[in-house]
Amino acid sequence: MPNIVVLVKQVPDTYSERKLASADHTLDRASADAVLDEINERAVEEALQIKEAQGGEVTVLTVGPERATDAIRKALSMGADKAVHVSDESLHGADIIQTAKVLAKAIGTVEGYDLIIAGNESTDGVGGAIPAMLAELLGLPQLTHARKVEIDGTSVKVERETDAGRTFLEAALPAVISVGEKINDPRYPSFKGIMAAKKKPVTTLTIADLGIDASEVGLANAASQVLESAPKPPRAAGQQITDEGDGGSKIAEYLVSQKLI
């Protein structure tokens, strides 16, 4: 009966326009609808499938502002059992290293975990480093980019897929895994799940509760600083080639000039 912790994150909806705040180049959370990151839905789904097959308990964990409770609620509606929410104003602008440290401490509050499941990277920050950092901090094996996960009482097997190909990994539990897009199709919460989620326990913690000092976190203490940011330039008009008998070679010339062929 595995005890699983799933890392979730609230991100701006990829369907809406996403911006950075002009003052400090952090995410402008007010400008877009906030949703549970799609890859986290897959992470939750994987945990639920393991639970449905083997029993156990699923805890979701998030570090984020107060409104991240909506993302937690979604995960609980899907069927997770309880949640831990680390919410602290001093975390505004926290970088990946700080976030990994906070997550590691927060995971310490979940008793007897066997497996930690994360998405391989978020759709907003696209850092992709949290699962590995967290495994390092906790001294656990990391099995990332999973497209298939199998666990038995003491070990986890993962089919890992990256651009380089597939590898088949195995490690002893407890372990950290991250899942990719192909892992599963996440369920949509049912109304019954939505109702049940209202009654599930959510523990809210500050960084002080985790023994972390405000001077270790936040934008001012981040390992790197964003100096400048600019929105992506609008797409330029395409180049039109008129075929006057030599259309084919003109296209070939263009592709050569772009180093595409």
Binding site: Y15, R73, K74, S77, R187, Y188, P189, S190, F191, K192, G193, I194, M195, A197, K198
Partner: protein, 387 residues
Amino acid sequence: MIDFRLEEEHEALRKTVREFAREEVAPVIGDYYERCEFPYEIVAKMGRMGLFGLPFPESVGGMGGDYFALCLALEELARVDSSVAITLEAGVSLGAMPIYRFGTPEQREQWLPSLVSGEALGAFGLTEPGGGSDAGATRTTARRDGDSWVVNGTKAFITNSGTDITRLVTVTAVTGERDGRKQISAIIIPSGTPGFAVSKKYSKVGWSASDTRELSFADCVVPASNLLGEEGRGYAQFLSTLDEGRVAISALSVGLAQGCVDECVRYVAERAAFGHKIGEYQAIQFKIADMEARTHVARLAYYDAAARMLRKQPFKRQAAIAKLVSSEAAMDNAREATQIFGGYGFMNEFPVGRFYRDAKILEIGEGTSEVQRMLIARDLGLTRPWQ
């Protein structure tokens, strides 16, 4: 004064269905529609997320929600596509609800689990060729013969009646006469019963990815225990469910009206003519403002009717008003949206083309606009001397 803020769980449901419609329905429904094909895969997914169980208690396998939850789901689905919305509406209000409400414990046990989970569909056969809204003119008969009913007649425009997952059709039939008036009863006819023939699908102007057929019964024999509810009360039972069906169709209409606004707001920011985005011209802005205003008013009308229904207050008039104003809003918005899209609005591959084709039936089904006006007038005490 109260307001119309949604409860937390209703709002969460609305968002979930919106997401579902956007991700699972919108990308693929155009092809089903074009081929007039029933979208089994989408319906199965709707079943898995519990949409067919929304207004039913958990004791019969439902989601423990209410009729308003169903309305919100219908609105969000219809914002993207009406064929899947009407499949859900008919599956719940006409397929499962009469059995839940009037069925014996045995009938409930036999039929409800698969209907409520969406694995199976039920249909309701009331309308007959030449019958329409004048449901008292039923000509289909059911004759008692020992332990059986023998059903003869024809039913028209029956939604969900001929899919691969349709398990039953409840039909209204004349079972006798009392004081010179026809006694109408409801009888459950399982799909595949000998003597029960399902025609091929109608070729419809809209709702093309939904299943609508003509049914005929020729000495179709079912057990006496298939009587649903009281003998001779079939029509009265059906009437009692009509008002809530109107609220559901109103929600569906509001969804279509809103879908027109969504599509137009997006399109006019992209499409340029005479040197400007067309959304910068007041002629276009005013059209869209009117569309939004109609949608908002229609939504408030169905929220109000639904709120009264849930409080168990009389809501006949409010249901008729909601159905009337929202179906007309849907039709008006579809016409204006098509106009704004110009030539592309006339192409089936754009959603507004589908909205245009799907809107007209909303002024007809579940009581025409004329019937709604009649109901409102009657509720105001206006009588007709010859009646």
